[in-house]
């Protein structure tokens, strides 16, 4: 009995090891064209930037096979705190740096906007600042108040600590205490999924994330604000009212690998990646 047990345990340990070893890349068989860049780069921060950072990481890794880039979310505030405590090399922050954060260096990589989304079937196509304020503070509670169908509005708000929430509150001059939500969510994607499932829900998300989902067939639509359509084009032209910068931040002097990655991120090579995520690349 004991021998069988030991054998089974040994087998259970071997199986995953075998799978891993068989799929691991063999670093010594890499071609000589890669420069001596190697090591692990850790990037944490805003969940808005994370998908973009992930795509950039993949492309970077394919040019430098000895490099591993790990992207983790945690919010812009986490990005700042981690970089300050040297827990990560690069932080992702989806807003401008505040006055108290001048000990950090911001490397802008793209621009983004924040707008509201509703289900595709919702007849409403645009809203004014006041209407949005009224909805989120609970004064309007039915879609008929906005020219829509007779259904209660399901207001979706973001949980505290997210910079998208801060951008939203900052623009509309509201405090989180004044908001009367029906559902509170964590990440952008969650808001998108909820709105796609519920024809009477409304939420605010980053334009980049929203447009990306829309292009991939998710049944949502982005609302125009004060008559200006919410598109990455308008963010580019700086005509859309609620915009924000997407930054990679570092603390002190970044190491060689971080510098290389930031340089790569700001180069035109990443423009197609940025556009693919529906953010707006910075043209010189």
């Amino acid at each position: 009995m004991k021998k069988n047990v030991l054998f089974l345990i040994g087998l259970a340990l071997l199986v995953p090891l075998v799978i891993i070893l068989s799929s691991e890349e063999n670093p010594t068989s890499v071609s000589q064209t890669s420069k001596a860049l190697q090591g692990k780069l850790i990037i944490t921060g805003s969940s808005t930037i994370a998908p973009l950072a992930q795509e950039m990481a993949k492309q970077f890794e394919s040019s430098y096979p000895n490099v591993r880039v790990d992207v983790q979310t945690g919010g812009s505030s986490r990005g700042i705190s981690d970089v300050r405590r040297s827990l990560t090399h690069i932080g992702m922050v989806s807003r401008q740096l505040k006055a108290s954060e001048q000990d950090l260096t911001a490397h802008k990589i793209a621009m983004d906007g924040v707008t509201l989304i509703v289900h595709q079937q919702n007849p409403v196509t645009q809203l004014t600042d006041d209407q949005i304020r009224a909805m989120y503070t609970g004064k309007f509670s039915n879609w008929t108040d906005l020219g829509g169908t007779d259904n209660p509005i399901t207001v979706i708000n973001k949980a505290e600590g997210r910079s998208t929430l801060e951008v939203f509150l900052g623009y509309f001059g509201l405090k989180n205490q004044q908001i009367k939500p029906d559902i509170v969510i964590g990440d952008n994607e969650q808001a998108i999924k909820l709105v796609a499932q519920n024809p009477h829900a409304i939420a605010y998300v980053s334009i980049g994330t929203g447009e990306y989902s829309q292009q991939h067939g998710v049944p949502i639509k982005l609302l125009a604000i004060n008559g200006i359509a919410a598109s990455s084009h308008n963010v580019n032209q700086a005509t859309f009212p609620i915009t924000r910068e997407l930054n990679f931040i570092t603390h002190g002097i970044p190491n060689k690998l971080s510098l290389a990655f930031i340089e790569f991120a700001q180069s035109p090579a990443t423009f197609p990646l940025i556009k693919a995520q529906s953010f707006v690349p910075l043209t010189p």
Partner: protein
Amino acid sequence: MSLLHRDLLLHWVLRIFALLASLIVGLIAIFLIVESFPVLNHVGLLAFFSDASWHPTEQLFNLLPMLWASLMVVVGALILSIPLSLLSALFCEFYAPTRLAVIYRRIIELLAGIPSVIYGFWGLVVLVPIIASIEAPGTSLLAGILVLSFMILPTLTLFAITAFHNISQQQIANSMALGISKAGFICHVILPLARPALLAGTVLQTGRAIGETMALLMVCGNVVQTPSHLFEPMRTLTSNIALEMAYAMDDHRSALFVSGFILLLIVIGLVILSNLLVKEPNDTHTV
């Protein structure tokens, strides 16, 4: 090494292992206290019960709405699942034909093992739209109660089945000799005798229900408010930690550790309660 030395060594090694295992809880408590300290220092414990609301980025830390929400969802789940689990156990033990009882028990055992995430997923995809069609938004106290009660039902039932089985073995001969009817047997013999074990089991499941995070995070809507009716969304203390922890800094993060510590205290209280209930001697009833 002599036999005596080897045994002494073994004794010490085992002592160390046991110590390690028992230190974990102590370590957890220490960490929770240490991490809670900053905000307790800045804001004080009273703020957690008297502030205007829970808006940590605006330095408001009232935990009461979430404590009430946790309480309500657990009590609701208990109200639903205790009768169902008792009756299920009675069915399995006394009313079902043997083959059916075995199959039913297997079903319950499988249900007991299903991860909370799957219950939450199913609740989100199936239950919430149904509730939403009755009243928006669908993610609500009701959804939480339903999902939670389905989660604690199987384990409560298994507990009850074991308790009923043991007592039934002891008492069946006497009761049949006295000619008691089945309902009488159940109501006046089995249930009273099983009460201490059932209570202890219920208290343990309550502890588990209070600790439930993922399923409730998925179906309750996560709005911080004391729910005033079943269809209102709410947020439990546990879901709060899961939702905000990743993005919380400084005082906010510290406040989450305070709520974690409160949960720990509640659980310790429940464990003590359950132990006290089990100690109640059964010997006064045995023949």
